[in-house]
């Protein structure tokens, strides 16, 4: 719980800033049987980022990273919209798009675990080629679809709550159950802590790594459907652009170490919400939206510095003597086999 303290404080501070500028910020009201309000909007527009970040969390927990999620977002949206515009079958289009995403994730996992390429490079391949693939599927056009049932995924409501939020809750629930109630989470953390040692301990690290990349791609695929359905069109060039960086950011803000070996799903959700709230805050406070990136950079720098043990040592040592030295657990021993 202590690990979630910093992200929680940041989120609370951001919300407080909003309350100061818009007193009605926390009000949630019912209109025509739907929930409306700034908080609901943050959740709704943040839903794709939360999904992508969840997948990213597990990948980072194994000591990897997935740069290709943004491209997968574009591919999934493009393929689904293409199928719908051709024959209109929403269900088959969604299944096909998600199937392709899982396939792409398996490819990433194969490169990392099967061939043994560094994750950042292995996924860089799909990040570059995937953008081209998305444009190839869409033939360089922006495909617009007019399908009410497809619109539900990103813009619809179920039981007064936006459908996207429910989707995120379901994925979050399933992931939390699989990783925290079953042994899978411990296995993922052990692979991230030391892949060689866990292999010697009898864990099939290869299978786990491949599963994790496939899961990340599936999450990105669902996020892609959400984004494209929300605007009823697919843009191979711009859909999901830079979402991989936002997702990595969300994971890091949430306290998951990029070195792997431990992860926090709750922290990731908080991290993604912080990023989305930041964007909303910038709009509501009246700062020109062009400066979003600037503010984001400052927040990232601040969060990373606060989380760095060396920085805390340097800054807080002057304030008072600290008895606890740097924990030895932070040091990671790299095993090169």
């Amino acid at each position: 719980m202590k690990r979630l303290l910093w992200p929680l404080l940041v989120l609370a501070a951001l919300l407080a800033v909003n309350l100061f500028f818009t007193p009605s910020f926390f009000s949630v009201e019912m209109k025509e049987g739907h929930l409306y309000g700034s908080l609901i909007d943050i959740l709704r527009f943040g839903a794709p980022l939360i999904l992508v970040s969840l997948g990213m969390t597990l990948v980072i927990a194994t000591g990897g990273i997935d740069l290709s999620v943004g491209s997968v977002v574009a591919i999934s949206g493009a393929l689904a919209c293409l199928r719908i515009s051709e024959d209109g079958g929403v269900f088959s289009a969604v299944v096909l798009a998600l199937g392709l995403c899982v396939l792409l994730g398996l490819w990433n996992g194969f490169l990392v675990a099967g061939v043994g390429i560094q994750p950042i490079i292995a996924t860089l391949i799909l990040m570059v080629a995937g953008r081209g693939l998305a444009q190839l599927i869409a033939d360089g056009q922006i495909i617009t679809v007019n399908s009410p049932s497809y619109k539900v995924i990103g813009g619809g409501y179920l039981l007064t709550v936006p459908f996207g939020i429910l989707l995120v809750l379901v994925v979050l629930g399933v992931t939390a159950f699989l990783t925290r109630r079953l042994a899978l989470g411990v296995l993922i953390e052990s692979v991230g802590g030391n892949a060689e040692a866990s292999r010697l301990a009898g864990i099939r690290s290869r299978g786990i790594v491949i599963t994790v990349y496939a899961f990340a791609a599936l999450c990105a695929g669902v996020a892609g459907l959400m984004i494209s359905s929300n605007v009823s069109s697919a843009d191979g060039n711009n859909a999901g652009l830079w979402i991989e960086l936002d997702a990595i950011l969300a994971v890091v803000i949430g306290g998951t170490s990029l070195a792997g070996g431990r992860f926090s799903l709750g922290g990731t959700v908080l991290g993604a919400l912080i990023i989305q709230t930041l964007t909303t805050t910038i709009y509501s406070v009246g700062v020109p939206p062009e400066t979003t990136l600037l503010v984001k950079a400052l927040v990232v720098a601040a969060v990373c510095l606060v989380q760095s043990p060396k920085f805390r040592d340097k800054v807080f040592r002057r304030a008072g003597p600290r008895s606890s030295p740097r924990p030895a657990a932070e040091e990671k021993v790299r095993v090169t086999a």
Partner: protein
């Protein structure tokens, strides 16, 4: 196919040290692409086509040189594209608004780029935060600064600047290059000298090979890490100046995704991403291969621009696989 090449190279292994093989493969690929293009398209196999690749990619070459330094130490710099954009933006706005002369603007831009690199390098070194995250923040910061200066494209109309940008340097037999190419070549030569013949260069390789060993040997690892990010920042700023010669405008959306092109060029050039092994010549060849892909696609005419991305992805895949096979072979 790759195994066949490997076997052939392995047979010659005694005469060619393994560390040169990736560079040779890239050089072979470049020649093969050029020959194939020359056979397929009329007017392709001329010297000017190669020079045009240099002219169109001079800025990428300079940026990739900086990236090579960083990657050789085992780090990565994601901020280069944004620093390039920031440089074009600052030079354009200073020349358009207050009407500063270029000989003041260019040094200032180079100074800002180096300072950004210095700060990022210091944070990486002093606070032990992954280069990936630090330079990611730097990327957001520089892009954000661009948009803060202005969201529209600013044209550059300074007479000295445009005159320099439009200068042609005639070589023999109707061949010509732009002054940017000369600057890029000078940067490459200086960087190659620094990497291979100075103490800093040796420390860069040593740090990338094994940071722990380099520290135990008493090498100034921290200073070197700060230095490589500063060099990369300087190169990005210079790349930005060259890009503003090429585009004659400053725009916050210039050079989006250039960090990926630079990383791809370095990888295709045979530099190991874990650091410690690679050559600057490889990076030059990597940039040339990327440029030649675009030339081939423009000669082909019917293929759309997204095929560039797919081809670059495929090339990355093949070269990383090659690297992997070689490092596996070396260990056994």
């Amino acid at each position: 196919m790759t195994t066949a090449i490997l076997d052939r190279l392995g047979a010659r292994g005694r005469s060619v040290p393994a560390k040169y093989v990736p560079v040779l493969v890239t050089a072979g690929l470049f020649v093969a692409m050029f020959v194939a293009g020359g056979i397929r398209y009329e007017g392709f196999a001329t010297g000017q086509v190669i020079l045009n690749v240099f002219i169109d990619n001079a800025f990428l070459l300079v940026v990739a040189v900086g990236m090579t330094f960083v990657i050789l130490t085992g780090g990565i710099d994601l901020s280069v594209g944004s620093v390039v954009a920031l440089s074009t933006m600052i030079s354009a706005s200073l020349m358009a608004g207050p009407g500063w002369p270029p000989y003041l603007v260019v040094p200032l831009v180079l100074l800002i780029g180096s300072a950004l690199g210095l700060v990022m390098g210091y944070i990486v070194h002093a606070f032990d935060i992954q280069p990936f995250i630090v330079t990611l923040a730097g990327m957001f910061l520089a892009r954000g600064l661009c948009y803060t200066i202005g969201t529209d494209s600013i044209p550059i109309e300074d007479p000295t600047f445009t005159a320099f940008a439009q200068t042609r340097i005639d070589l023999f037999a109707d061949l010509w290059i732009s002054p940017s190419v000369v600057i890029a070549v000078v940067v490459v030569l200086v960087a190659a000298y620094v990497l291979h013949y100075t103490r800093l260069g040796r420390t860069v390789y040593a740090t990338g090979g094994s940071e722990q060993s380099a520290l135990l040997m008493g090498l100034p690892v921290g200073r070197t890490k700060v230095a490589v990010y500063t060099i990369s920042g300087f190169c990005s700023a210079l790349g930005g100046v060259l890009l503003s010669f090429y585009m004659l405008s400053g725009y916050g959306l210039h050079a989006v995704g250039m960090e990926l092109d630079a990383i791809a060029a370095v990888v295709i050039g045979g530099t190991l991403l874990t650091g410690g092994s690679g050559f600057l010549l490889g990076t030059v060849l990597g940039v040339l291969v990327l440029g030649l892909i675009q030339t081939v696609l423009s000669f082909e005419g019917t293929l759309s621009s997204w095929w560039t991305k797919i081809f670059i992805g495929l090339l990355l895949f093949v070269f990383i696989l090659l690297q992997r096979l070689f490092s596996a072979r070396r260990r056994t």
